[in-house]
């Protein structure tokens, strides 16, 4: 009988050996892949053990984690939720964070590789790690003014500091309240998220950087830049001035907005054509310059490049045209030209900044929990779009556009404002996209701005850039200039 008991003992040993092996495989061998499984809520809970850093605007938190009594230990709060929703994004308990919450996630959660030494220390000392705070470049006055000025319109406003590329305001409407997506109830978060996903006007999309619209007439300064840079044109170069123009190779006839010729003469200067925002001279100019020249100029301003601000900003498009009709249309920002509000603000900034394009950026610095500045984001140059002379010429033309031209609604007493309006067509019967892009003060540019109003500002095809978008820009500039 003992021989049999011995054999049973061996079987028992084998059974336990199997358990030793299986637990080892799960807890050590496969642990990393199990921990990385999206359905593993423990990994998420563990991330909540960390007091996530704050997102700061002028030293005040616009997103912060406060202790809570539940499993998650901390509740993410957005004190001025809707005002900063495009900037902060949201940090949900299920799913990926967006906005700065997403793009600066490793810094905020304290899990970036830079924090490795801290993590080791925490392992030894038993301290819970704490995330870093992120200070933004946002100017609260500009942000509030832009938010108020845009009102209930669907669209976006971006304000840049021309010399540095700092983003001073970033407003996208309709907005949302990130607090509703930060509650500790997955079902509730999912319901809110689905509702926002289906809501009119796509509140979850940051329109300043991720909505592409035809830029319309706001693209004309780019074409003018290309012309001046070529050396073959000056501001006073004359273009034929018909009251209608048949696009080459088609029977399509285009007009100026006035449905007449651009001013009285049989020719019109490039300067006057911009000030009066005439389409025909710029269509003619585009054909003369050719697709390559305009595309090269547009790319120097930042078209066809996506930026990280550090959120991903979509690339504005100037694709280049072999079709002459489309090329002509592209001269006034139609055809397949598209741009984000950010890009058009960058254009205005570069023009006012002597032709130098700065990298747009939203993060001022990263601050450790013990209040040491870990990282500052110094202004970096994207490149030179034009010579200083060209930039100054275009800038002066834009100033005249406001002071004596069709962008009259952006005039501010005592301040020289440069600007360009745009009234872009989408489809035959679709409402226009209304633009304003500009800078102020012209003699010492502190602010560059782009305003986009979607859906024709509720006026269908009756509104235009000057009547809808320019007053919004005016209000924002007045606020930041202290007027």
């Amino acid at each position: 009988m003992n021989r049999e008991i011995k054999r049973v003992s061996i079987v028992v040993l084998a059974m336990f050996l199997a358990l030793f092996v299986s637990t080892s495989i799960i807890q050590v061998g496969a642990a990393d892949s199990l921990n990385a499984d999206a359905r593993n809520s423990r990994t998420l809970y563990a991330s909540y053990q960390v007091q996530r850093g704050s997102i700061l605007v002028a030293g005040q938190p616009v997103a912060e984690s406060v202790p809570s009594k539940d499993t998650y230990n901390y509740q993410r709060e957005y004190p001025q939720g809707p005002l900063y929703s495009a900037v902060t994004g949201f940090f949900p308990i299920s799913g990926a964070p967006t906005g700065i919450e997403g793009s600066m996630n490793s810094e905020l959660s304290g899990t970036s590789n830079d924090d490795f030494i801290d993590q080791l220390q925490n392992l030894v000392t038993g301290h819970h790690p704490q995330g870093n705070s992120v200070e933004l470049t946002i100017d609260p006055v500009a942000q509030q003014a832009a938010y108020d000025a845009l009102g209930s319109q669907q669209g976006s406003v971006v304000v840049l500091q021309p010399k540095t590329g700092r983003i001073l305001a970033m407003v996208s409407k309709p907005d949302f309240d990130p607090n509703t997506l930060a509650v500790h109830n997955v079902t509730q978060v999912d319901a809110t998220y689905q509702k926002l996903l289906k809501a009119d006007g796509d509140p979850l999309i940051n329109k300043t950087i991720n909505e592409l619209n035809p830029p319309g007439s706001t693209f004309k300064p780019v074409v003018l830049s290309a012309a001046l840079e070529s050396g073959n044109y000056t501001l006073s170069s004359q273009m034929p001035n018909p009251s209608s123009f048949t696009l080459p190779g088609t029977s399509t006839v285009i007009h100026n907005d006035s449905l007449t010729s651009c001013g009285a003469g049989s020719t019109v200067s490039l300067e006057t054509a911009l000030i009066l925002s005439c389409n025909i001279p710029y269509a003619e100019l585009a054909i003369k310059l050719g697709s390559q020249a305009i595309k090269a100029q547009a790319q120097k301003y930042g078209f066809n490049t996506s930026f990280s601000v550090p959120m991903h900003a979509s690339a504005s498009q100037y694709p280049g045209y072999s079709d002459q009709a489309k090329l002509a249309m592209s001269g006034f920002g139609q055809a397949d030209d598209t741009a984000t509000a950010l890009q058009m603000a960058m254009n205005a900034a570069a023009i006012s900044n002597g032709g130098t394009v700065m990298q747009p950026n939203l993060v001022e610095s990263v601050v450790t929990p013990d209040l040491q500045v870990r990282e500052t984001f110094n202004p970096t140059t994207f490149g030179r779009a034009t010579s200083e002379t060209t930039a100054d010429s275009v800038a002066q033309t834009m100033v005249k556009d406001v002071s004596e031209g069709v962008a009259s609604n952006a005039r501010i007493d005592g301040v020289q404002v440069g600007g360009k309006t745009g009234t872009a067509q989408n489809g035959t019967n679709d409402p226009y996209t209304l633009w304003f892009t500009g800078f102020a003060p012209a003699n010492d540019p502190q602010f560059a701005i782009a305003v986009v109003v979607d859906n024709g500002g509720g006026l269908g095809q009756r509104g235009d850039g000057n009547s809808v978008a320019a007053p919004i820009a005016k209000k924002v500039l007045e606020a930041v200039l202290g007027k």
Binding site: N2, V8, A31
Partner: protein, 467 residues
């Protein structure tokens, strides 16, 4: 080896007169002193575990549970003192191992209570402590009233009949209760009990008694085939009956684990009694065949197999009765990793039934692989002490019974932890000593008492022949 089927007093009549005084000189207290030392160590570990849980999960100390735990320690020490008088030569490791496993279980259950904000009678830990007290008292009663294990052999068929009744109880209309899809409970008022746990012991006693009687006919005759001797057809009766009982448990009570446990237990005891591999082959063929048919016919068995084979497929994971629990348990274990999160620092409550069926996943999360290895080693040591009694035993009934009881614990550990770690399909059995559940505690502490009694008898007997 011969089979002394009758309980003669041959032991004391042979060189007994000479050995009795010798035993006293041999300082039998040595074993008990070792046990006392280990018990103090075990109780210290348990107290530290509870304190760590409170510091980890509550952030401060709450002495209520420490006092309750101290009460339990007193009870265990009482059992130790009883044994000093009534079972002085019993194995010194069994009681401390049971104590420390029981204590760690209470600490982890308490930890889950804290996460669930349960207190008072809502608290599973408080109920577990009360059940432990009852279980230890039962164990003491067994030590006190069963002075010689061979008494049990006299009631072989009484135990067999009791086992059957206990198994059938949950099927009765009024008191039978269906919990989590398995009909293995009886409920009287607020109390519920799993009679199958006690039936396990009754069955082991019955098997031991029955096999000692009939092993000759079961092992001597039969044809040889492929080098293995197979029994005659008419001797297949007992194994078929057991197979039918196990299958009935699976089919009617929806309890795959218990079916496997009973059948495995019978098979091993049959093999040890008859030394015929043929029985094991027949048994395995029967069981695997039955399980395969069940996996096709019974939805719940089919589901268990699906969960086992493809737990991570979204379809299986999201299904009702799907692999959610299994996968969450695996996530918990992985989250614990090598070192564990520390008691009170993990998220065991994410997994359903974290305090009962999934206590091992909870412990693995918080104590890590190192902690699980320690627990597995404790079980292995416990089982090996039981098997050791089987080796050293003088009478076949005692040998069979101790092997049976030890193997029952080993098999149960294997079925539960193997199910959680995907060695075998998951079945709902309790982890001995650790999991929340009164019936399981009472049954396992009775096993402790029986093994102690058996080991005491073994050492009590002069070793004239050690084969």
């Amino acid at each position: 080896m011969t089979a002394p089927t009758s309980s003669t007093t041959a032991v004391s009549s042979r060189p007994g007169a000479a050995t009795a005084p010798l035993r006293r000189i041999r300082l039998p207290k040595k074993l008990r002193n070792l046990e006392l030392g280990l018990l103090i160590f075990a109780c210290a570990i348990n107290a530290i575990a509870v304190v760590l849980v409170e510091l980890g999960a509550l952030g401060h100390l709450d002495f209520t549970l420490v006092f309750l735990g101290a009460g339990l320690s007193v009870l265990v020490f009482a059992m130790h003192i009883v044994m000093r008088y009534l079972a002085p030569d019993a194995d010194p490791f069994v009681l401390p191992i049971a104590t420390v496993l029981n204590g760690i279980g209470i600490a982890e259950i308490y930890r889950i209570d804290i996460a669930n904000h349960d207190s008072g009678w809502e608290s599973a830990a408080v109920r577990q402590i009360v059940w432990t007290a009852i279980a230890v008292l039962c164990a003491i009663a067994v030590i006190v009233f069963i002075r010689n294990h061979r008494v049990l052999q006299r009631y072989t068929y009484v135990f067999g009949f009791s086992a059957l009744v206990l198994l059938l109880l949950p099927m009765l209309p009024v008191i039978g209760k269906n919990i989590n899809g398995a009909r293995v409970w009886i409920g009287i008022g607020p109390f519920s009990f799993q009679p199958g746990e006690i039936a396990k012991i009754a069955l082991a006693i019955f098997f031991a008694g029955y096999l000692v009687q009939s092993r000759d006919s079961l092992s001597m005759v039969g044809k040889k085939f492929l080098g293995i001797r197979f029994p005659r057809l008419r001797d297949l009766g007992p194994i078929l009956v057991l197979w039918i009982v196990s299958m009935a448990v699976i089919v009617f009570q929806h309890d795959l684990g218990t079916g496997l446990l009973y059948f495995g237990l019978f098979l091993v005891m049959l093999y040890v009694a008859t030394a015929r591999v043929g029985w094991v082959v027949i048994g395995l063929v029967l069981f695997v065949g039955g399980a395969l048919i069940a996996s096709r016919v019974l939805d719940y068995v089919q589901g268990r197999f699906q969960n086992w084979l493809n737990p991570f497929s979204d379809h299986v994971y999201n299904a009702t009765g799907g692999s959610y629990q299994l996968v969450q348990g695996l996530f918990g274990l992985a989250h614990g990793g090598l070192l564990g999160t520390g008691l009170g620092q993990g998220y065991p409550t994410v997994t359903p039934l974290a305090e009962s069926d999934y206590i091992i996943a909870s412990l693995g999360e918080e104590l890590g692989l190192i902690g699980l290895f320690a627990i597995l080693c404790l079980y292995l040591l416990f089982v090996s002490r039981g098997l050791r009694v089987g080796f050293a035993g003088q009478d076949d009934f005692g040998k069979l019974l101790s092997v049976g009881l030890a193997f029952a614990v080993a098999l149960q550990v294997f079925i539960v932890i193997g199910g959680i770690t995907r060695v075998i399909p998951l079945t709902g059995l309790t982890t001995p000593f650790l999991a929340a559940g009164g019936s399981s505690l009472v049954a396992n502490w009775i096993i402790v008492a029986l093994l102690l009694r058996l080991s005491d008898t073994v050492r009590n007997q002069p070793r004239l022949v050690v084969s």
